[in-house]
Symmetry: C2
Subunit: 325 residues, 2 copies
């Protein structure tokens, strides 16, 4: 029986909607339900299920811990949105804007506790291992977020520091999601580590693709404004590489646009994109994305897998690689 | 061998100082270490050790999970201080003032993860039980904090709602600390529940005593400004009961002082205290405190205990009951 992704996503949504997180006081639980029901791609719980299904067929057994990963992810979004002062999340008002920052802090806190609670649903023999890995993962996600915030006020960020940051902030959770699925399916250690590394490499490619789409995505398919990162001087893979490569007049021009406090946004996006084009940033970025997906595929090759499971993981990675939004 | 409290406290401090929480980025871990090293009475870890020592002598074995309780407590302080906009904690600048709110949010988040990590140090056979109880406890603490915040904008708060709030915000953690110690010592279920209830009752008495000392404590021994709760209109056990009991001119006078936006602080403290005196609030509060400690002592009586352990728990409760700061 092949795993049909839309069926899995439907089950994830149903589980999210059926979970009882708490009721009283409403200020604590309404923001939690609000954010959880804003949707999203549900990639992380899908990965836990996929990690399990790679080694065992009865994936319905791990929907609860899979949702735990999604609750954790949404906790980070709730707190990150306060820190980033973000007005919107998935096109809707953020929790700290709809309620206030205090509500978002505390509701986020209880979400982290609820994420732990959902992991309690795993088989006893695997519990402590998953728990330990989750603690490590959650720590790294916090470290990554702090580094990301630090970058905002740093003059220059090296590519290595940037890659380290996105690995912690985004990729380790994708790796953890897959690894947890594999552990719960009783995979051997070698395969467990390989599927985690597959997830981490895919996560790095995924995040750099995100940076890429901000500049080279099409507005209709990308779903958000193209150039948002350029407007806000966000230190993306593209900007970091442009700063590294630019020389002479191009460097002066780029730094000028980065330092302007008042400007025409679409003009800035257009000119900075032209600078990127002249520096070959599009190609550099595409190559980097490809190199991470190649790394992910290499992990898959090394795994001992049933042929139909290998096809499924490959298809999933290709889907992530080719995403236009 | 009798348990000597100062020895235990020293061991707790040593454990706190020796723990490696993390290093990089410093913005994440320095606030954590700063807050943990501000000191405090360390009552919660002491309770875990006491809960263990009640049933087993070798209490050194549970210092790590005991410190987990203290790390959790400090996580709540870090986030509560942001929400309460508090400038000082234990006489020192709060984390969100020394750094900023974002740092305090994220450093607090990682502290919660570290608290979970420290609980991993318990014997496997007890781990899942302690983990489940901790999740429940952490959830209640968040609920209590939200209720406390809600009270600020509520016109009137009932005594029942107030007691429910302090039970969740303060007492359940004291109960959890003792219960965890008892579980790790292999206590039977009846004793485990009784020692938890002993802690909860003591916690309620402890918190109301805190309200009491704000008005009737002596500045030198209490260590903070007497009357701070009166100045800020904090809905304490005393104010709630005064609002319930006041009639006629006394009611008008009390409500006037509660509604003034500009006033002489020491005058407000003096007059509101006089109103409390006229309403017999001092006695009502003392009786309530006593009733909770009576309840705590009743729990002790019901427990099956070695005589020297009973004496120790009794002495501890008396120490908490008689505290002047």
């Amino acid at each position: 029986m092949a795993l049909y992704f839309p069926t899995v996503t439907t089950q994830i949504e149903q589980k999210i909607n059926s979970l009882y997180f708490g009721e009283n006081p409403p200020e604590l639980y309404e923001p939690l339900r609000y954010l959880m029901q804003l949707g999203g791609k549900r990639i992380r719980p899908l990965l836990t299920i996929l990690g399990y299904y790679t080694f065992q067929d009865d994936w319905e057994r791990v929907v609860t811990p899979a949702v735990g990963v999604e609750v954790f992810h949404n906790f980070t979004l709730m707190h990150d949105d306060i820190m980033d002062n973000a007005p919107l999340r998935r096109g809707k008002v953020t929790v700290h804007e709809k309620w206030d920052a205090n509500t978002a802090i505390l509701s986020g806190d209880v979400m982290l506790v609820k994420a732990y609670e959902l992991f309690a649903d795993v088989e006893s023999q695997y519990f402590k291992k998953v728990f330990t890995l989750f603690n490590q993962c959650a720590t790294e996600v916090c470290e990554g977020q702090q580094k990301d915030m630090n970058f905002e006020t740093q003059e220059e960020v090296s590519e290595a520091d940037y890659l380290d940051m996105i690995r912690q902030k985004t990729s380790v959770l994708l790796g953890f999601a897959l690894q947890t699925g594999a552990i719960l399916a009783g995979a051997d250690l070698e395969n467990e580590i390989l599927i985690r590394d597959f997830g981490i490499a895919m996560g790095l490619g995924f995040q750099i693709k995100d940076d890429f789409l901000d500049v080279y995505g099409e507005t209709e398919t990308f779903g958000k404004q193209v150039g948002g990162d350029i407007i806000s001087n966000k230190k993306t893979f593209l900007l970091i590489n442009a700063q590294k490569r630019a020389e002479g007049n191009l460097k002066i021009e780029l730094e000028k646009w980065l330092s302007l406090t008042t400007f025409n946004p679409s003009e800035k996006v257009e000119i900075v994109t032209q600078i990127y084009n002249q520096l070959g940033i599009k190609e550099v970025t595409e190559q980097k994305i490809q190199s991470y997906f190649d790394k992910a595929f290499t992990c898959l090759e090394k795994m001992t897998l049933a042929p139909e499971k290998r096809i499924l993981l490959t298809e999933f990675a290709q889907m992530i690689m080719q995403r236009q939004k």
